[in-house]
Amino acid sequence: MSDYTSQEMMVAVAAREIRDGELVFVGMRLPILAYGVARSTHAPHARALYELGLMRDQPAAGFLGTMGDPPNVAGALWATRMSNVMALMAQGQVDLGFIGGAQVDRFGNLNTSYIGDPARPATKLPGSGGGADIAILSRRWVALMTHEPRRLVERVSYVTSPGHGDGAGWRARNGLRGGGPSAIVTTLAVLRFPAGGGEAYLASVHPGRTVEEVRRNTGWDLHVADDVVETPEPTVEELAHTRRLDPDGFWTRRE
């Protein structure tokens, strides 16, 4: 298989982060597809939580532009208030969350709020949504990013959603309950973090990309794992499920 988009690659990689039986806090956009692919392939016993107040098992029968579209509510296991869903996460029952980021740094801290001075920002980004809650309270989380030097930066100027702070041990010292980021899935590669937290390293490079290209597009001196590998391509099955869930390429074939 070589005819797939970088978004389809990210969906497949994100789907593989979901283990069977896990409770997943699904964010917007590509994670909605990743959950559907995982549930339809290797994780038939996973469950999904959506922050507006939903739990489901089966992926929705129709296309979703947002988690609140009617097909995501029909057939739900639970329709409730947001604070009930957040309660499960605060109790440590959410195994994995997904967060999209505008900027991420070497320790996995995300900025989705302000570029520049918050009082008069150069760029005002939309904000946390549920991102900060996932980053602090889920047992582990995965960030999805476009891989560009302006997005993968040495240090974010504003921490909307904390990762590993300034390195290993920071989360425990500051009372953060969840385990923090375990991976950053990008358009070029997969970065991972050491057990117990710390600095991201290059774990795998997507097909057709090189270690040098990934390092050149990263805003810090990115460590490369000794055993860095090529990311396995999306399988025929993963692509088929992705295209079933996104038939018009709304999420996976946009510029």
Binding site: T66, G68, V73, P121, T123, G129, S161, P162, R171
Partner: protein, 291 residues
């Protein structure tokens, strides 16, 4: 709608709207607020899918107290960016929250609590930039946020203000309980015995509700479970047109200012039939038998 907004949404009011997140957004109420040229509003919400952006672009807003402002399927809110970055059409103050913390702030107000301590937002700079959040003893204390008025769009209601709302609730209950007043917009106006046949599904007490507005189609382009699908193309069109201030003003003229009311707005849409939910899935009735 015009009367409800004129009576209960004065200049300077704090307004919670769009509290179910992506579904059931009372766009018709928001557009009426714009037409009546309200000023200096504080908007309260979780994520806002384009409605806050429109109210900000129209110059109605002084302060935003929310977790996320943009266009959920398209990305950034262009009017929000122009207001925060360039002060156009006017500067606004932003009090950032996360989804969990804005929910807790409303619960604090609903319960009359001075604050609610929570583990969320520990280590986030949101605590540093929002004075309504205080770090204390390894927790974040979330101070109350009390809207003057919460505006909801329910599937059905009676004239006394009993509303049945179904689907995910987001922060609708706490926003309604925290507010001094609630305006209920509804898709269907029904007899009291229909609503009171299932009191568990009544969202809020009638004592909070000051107005009931029968406004079919009032959530477009947002979906409403059992009635309307989401109009993704309308959100895409709004994102493209609002990219420039001039484009936004044209959009505002066409879809809000030159439109008398929601009935006329719906008549201007080409494809309302395709947006109506056709596959209906009724729940089984429950038994409230009493002896």
């Amino acid at each position: 709608m015009a009367e409800a907004v004129a009576r209960f949404v004065p200049d300077g009011a704090s307004v919670a709207i769009g509290t179910a997140l992506e579904p059931a957004i009372p766009f018709a109420a928001g557009h009426e607020i714009i037409r009546q040229r309200r000023r200096d509003l504080t908007l309260v919400g979780p994520i806002s899918d384009s409605l806050f952006d429109q109210l900000i672009g129209a110059g109605c807003v002084a302060t935003v107290c929310a977790a996320w402002v943009g266009n959920v399927s398209e990305g950034l809110g262009h009017c929000y960016r122009r207001a925060t970055e360039q002060g156009e059409p006017r500067p606004i103050e932003v009090r950032d929250h996360s989804n969990f913390s804005i929910s807790l702030a409303l619960w604090a107000a609903a319960w009359g609590s001075p604050y609610i301590p929570t583990p969320t937002l520990l280590g986030s700079d949101i605590v540093r930039t929002n004075p309504g959040l205080k770090l204390s003893d390894g927790a974040v204390n979330v101070l109350p946020v009390q809207p003057d008025v919460t505006i909801l769009h329910a599937q059905r209601a009676d004239t006394e203000g009993h509303a049945h709302f179904w689907g995910p609730l987001g922060i609708s209950e706490e926003a309604g309980l925290a507010a001094s007043k609630v305006i209920v917009c509804c898709e269907e106006l029904v007899a009291a015995e229909v609503v009171l046949s299932d009191p568990n599904r009544v969202l809020l007490p009638e004592t909070k509700v000051v107005a009931v507005v029968h406004e079919p189609g009032g959530t477009h382009p947002a979906p409403l479970q059992g009635f309307w699908r989401r109009d993704h193309a309308a959100y895409r069109d709004y994102a493209a047109r609002s990219r420039t201030a001039e484009g936004f003003r044209e959009w505002l003229q066409n879809w809000v200012l030159a439109v008398a009311d929601r009935r006329e707005y719906l008549a201007r849409l080409d494809a309302t039939a395709a947006l109506l939910v056709r596959r209906h899935l009724h729940s089984a009735p429950v038994d409230y038998g009493d002896e």
